[in-house]
Assembly symmetry: D2
Homo-oligomer: 242 residues x 4
């Protein structure tokens, strides 16, 4: 069964009000989730400043440990380290320790977007794969079929986006209109959708596949679509959908 | 008082379950908001395919009607028109009328992100201004003070981002970690944050200010911060916050 | 008649050698041009650090003085001022006054490319227009006809590139293979050709036309092609062509 | 001794005119170089449509054959293949076989810049390395010392640019002002200098080093600077310098 998303304190109190129930009777367990109601967000390095642990050190048939380890440690870890450094620099600036402005600040403001995206997308990439994949199910299956005609047709278009991208191929849900889009992104900070929620995230930076596939990107992208953790993707889909 | 955000049907039912109440007793009024629980989203052209009406045809002291009219009609309207054309092209492709692939599809996949962002950001820009501005209030005031030290300090950093940008200067809430960031974006599709929610949106494409200010961008940006509709911005801030 | 490009000292001596003539008999007038053999380069702000004077303060029928003045003063002048500041910063760094590295240097390294391109392209834009245009002639006419079928067909494709661009539409000669290309550039530093020589340069940043045309970009672009100084463009074409 | 660059027919005739010699007496051998006077250009795939042969299948101590082969075959070869396809498409369009315009043309116009740059830079990268490196010499040595203080100081700054880049780190000579710049480029079409001549070209796309170095980019970049073919770089430097 899918797990319902956690509700925020405000949401519970608000609904209780609509239902004519005083806050006093609401159990504390329902109020636990103050920090964020997105299943994939709570352990994110963007929240904790620490690396989110890998679910799998390899995905047999798709990615070896030799491929995954430097990817996770150096690329994900490196982006997170730089992000936390920038957060500290911004905290220092905003607390008045330095004047605001100058070339260094201009650089930090642009670089932070690159790093934030890199951290989040790497987490969604690693967590979206499983060595024991099933089929697309529940809400996400219905949504993909409705938008793309069929899962196969979605997959075909998704591969087009991956092959055209230098950075990331993605299935994205636009939070504003609720529609699904396949997206090609050439760099962490390029080709991004404001209020777009990445659901399926394929890292096509060459560091993601070059150990196992060298330049055989098409083979990597094709196999990638066969090892998706559809329970995870379905959970993402439900977490921000109304 | 601020209005609580609408809840989705699922959320109400879920909370009702936590509270031990059957769905049957929940009033239908509480279930109205199926389509999306973001206040700024429901009339968006990304949802309706139609131009969201202007709240104000001018903002005396900031923008004349001569500045606003072509901006709204040609730039916002043009992006929306192109977006709806692309949606139709994608619908046709996904319904199997054409094979997927080729140079035209590659272009559409990249262009759609540019247009989607342009539509949303223009709506947030126009709707975020008021001829009768008040002060930052409630949650957003507290959040800005906490992150930036003070509203003034936020404003100073925000202007740095606007001056450094060729497209958009923004205050953004990262939906994943809940933190606030000022952001510089050089083109609709560049410098964007995945799952970033734009709260304050300043269009610094030259079409936004050249009629009224020609090259005096600094003056435009400074005045812009004085005509913000903080009720609207606060409402945005609350709509996706936990 | 077209003026032959100046030869460098080395070229004259080299040819003299091929011809069996000693350097001693070569007149000093042939040796004047040490500094650079590109007609458009010798007064460039990239060389002198000073603004290249405008040939025309307006182009009646295309651009008013109200349009040209802030464009020249603020946009061209601003880019040049920033470029000269960066040059001074780099000189300081390279002379060992500061350690190399850090966020500020990272920013300067990227920003300088933006500014260098802005300076050069603005000079080529202003100098490429004339209030008394003739027809394309000589070498450039032949080259355009050969590549694009006809001048009209080139012009049609050129307008496509201008309309698709957010920054610059250009006719470019690739110095490596000698072929002509129409190019769309979205920002000063994007969509650029290594060893590409811009011949016809249309500024489509909105500051270039918004005073005179507001959003009527198509009208601006169409008229632009009617006020080209083909003698100047032909001179550019010959200056780097073998 | 360094080889003087070939002169074009026009240059020889022009100089002959200055020297008072009729064209009739100029030997035909001096007129051979019609196609282009840049040493690195004459065999470029941009000219011939064919892959420029590798000088070395590996650079012992820097790059193995396992690293070089897919890089050369798939990445350089792939860019060249796509470039030649685009050239054919453009030829077809310009000869009137198809109307000009549409999404496919918009894509081709942007994609061609990416591919042209990729072809040229890969050629300069491979040709700029040698298994038996010497020291920087002649003109380039003097120019580097003048600009950067010393070769070491240039090298230090060059590595900064390589580490900051996602695509290419380069030493570039601006053809307009003759000055040297280190440049960081994130994608083939980004961070490029109009009329910039790449002299030292380091491919930092991950495909360039991931087989031999995985994520140890710093080690790769440091070693790269030790295997430069300074004769080749000096020849490039002289070929467009006055």
């Amino acid at each position: 069964m899918t797990t319902p998303k956690a509700l925020s304190r405000r949401e519970v109190l608000q609904t209780a009000g609509l239902l004519g129930i005083s806050a006093a009777v609401i159990s504390s367990s329902a109020l636990a989730a103050e920090a964020g109601n997105l299943s994939f967000a709570k352990d994110s390095g963007l929240v904790t400043g620490k690396m989110k642990p890998l679910k799998y050190e390899s995905i047999p048939g798709l990615l070896t440990k030799e491929q995954v380890t430097p990817h996770y440690q150096a690329h994900y870890g490196g982006a997170l380290k730089r992000f936390t450094t920038i957060e500290q620099q911004l905290d220092g600036l905003y607390q008045g320790k330095d004047p605001l402005g100058g070339d260094a600040l201009a650089f930090i403001h642009k670089d932070k977007v690159n790093r934030m995206n890199s951290v989040l997308l790497h987490e969604l990439y690693f967590d979206g794969l499983t060595p024991k994949p099933g089929d697309a199910n529940d809400d996400i299956r219905a949504a993909l079929s409705k938008r793309f005609g069929s899962i196969d047709r979605w997959s075909e278009d998704f591969k087009v986006c991956c092959m055209a991208a230098n950075g990331w191929g993605m299935l994205v849900r636009d939070v504003v209109n609720g529609r699904l889009y396949n997206v090609s992104s050439d760099l962490h900070e390029i080709g991004v959708v404001w209020l777009g929620q990445p659901l399926v995230v394929c890292d096509v930076y060459e560091h993601a596949f070059y150990v196992d596939y060298t330049n055989r990107k098409q083979e990597y992208v094709t196999k990638f679509a066969q090892f998706l953790d559809w329970n995870e993707i379905n959970s993402r889909f439900r977490s921000l959908a109304s």
